[in-house]
Subunit: 147 residues, 4 copies
């Protein structure tokens, strides 16, 4: 990755090493645009998909907990290398608790040649579907997160 | 339109004259693809959008009738002229009752220069959300359709 | 599949047996809609993706043949069973030459429980990028298709 | 807008007053998701669309300048209020030069009821299509930007 200032990455080597979960995503033709590469909006499709699979892998926000849903509070993405149709990327995901109801989820996408193409982050808030308010994660949810 | 055999258009002049509703749709950059034009999948986004606005214009399938929803049974599209980013197209929609529960909805999209770019059709079935079964349109719904 | 009249399927058992290529597609969260299932437009994203992988598998329309591109002339889809987020579907693809420049491509999508959810078809025309005209497939391309 | 810390907004009243360009965007049904509202990815489709119309309005990055293209370096979005199908939003766009080759573009989306639903920003780099390198905006481009 070219060295550049990214507010959510203090120490890149450390930041990168903290990821353990990853999932592969194949780019769809409909996700390219007339500039000949993958449309920049598609990065957020991939982050969303990887985040859901990450939560599923630790058993968080699955169907049993239907009274709360994870709501996206903010999202950001830095584009480091262009992505092209036909490439399968590996997306790494990790999450840190920053408030009782809020997770800071980070993303890193790597191309087949090992180059990092995308990095990003965004807060996810645990929201009660009946009230629409943020609610604390349960102890059980917190334990899943710490695994 | 170049003359070609399209199963759902018997007499093109007559077919075209039967449309009265139309709506304008601006193409989004994300709806193009790496071939430099509008991705063929996007045609169905436009048909869906135009169909919903058509139903809204006659008061059909609005929020008051929440016990049934319109379900797409099939869809088809013929591509006559390429569409490009920056173009605003006019989509015409009409619907005929073919069974008590089923509408045959037809579409025609026209480019700014008057050329027809897309034609299509598809059946919409009135489905009871609790049973998942097709149910007849009510007399009130049928009256809206005949307007 | 419930028995119903589909113009492009004369004998369903025979039609189904003629497929040999298939590819798996995971549904993205962004491909669902507010009705709670996979948006009907997404079916065409999957057909496109599966078609490209089918062509790639037989070496057709790959980078070496840059003077022509495959252009979609028409598309249609029948929706047999609803698709939900989290499901991975298997899409079968086959193609028959119907004119020297035109392929009739057929699709069948199967859910994890074995139920057919989508069937469809559409013509693909081999178009010369410099003239924009349909051109015959080369003997080499025809041989790839017959494999 | 609920008061919250957003890194790119120092003084919200001032930030809001600096916008002069705006464009309206109608939400497409295919841009909703199974949670019943507009999918969070769609925000970036709207930002992209509004940015292109903003550039077009000042004559920047139009077809005459084909040797450079605007490349997205990063993007971020804060979600303040949920968006629903059927709503038309107004998106405000402004851009500041932060380096000779780089614009910091800001976005604010407002719902029909006047509530701010989205705010965001992202850097756009002027890239030479032949070399892939960032190049300074021309004096002519800078003048368009200052209008």
């Amino acid at each position: 990755m070219t060295v550049k200032h990214i507010s959510y990455i203090k120490d890149f080597t450390k930041w990168k090493e903290e990821f353990s979960f990853s999932t592969e995503i194949s780019i769809r033709f409909s996700e390219t645009d007339m500039f000949g590469h993958v449309n920049n909006v598609s990065a957020f499709i991939y982050f969303e998909q990887a985040r859901i699979e990450f939560f599923k892998s630790i058993g968080l926000f699955t169907k049993l907990e239907e009274d709360t849903i994870p709501v996206v509070a903010d999202l950001q993405c830095d584009y480091h290398n262009q992505l092209f149709f036909g490439e399968t990327i590996k997306i790494f995901v990790k999450a840190n608790l920053i408030k009782n109801s809020t997770l800071d989820v980070h993303y890193m996408a790597v191309k087949p040649d090992g180059k990092i193409c995308l990095t990003g982050r965004g807060n996810i808030v645990n929201v009660d579907t009946s009230t629409g308010k943020a609610v604390s994660l349960t102890n059980e949810q917190l334990q899943k997160l710490q695994k």
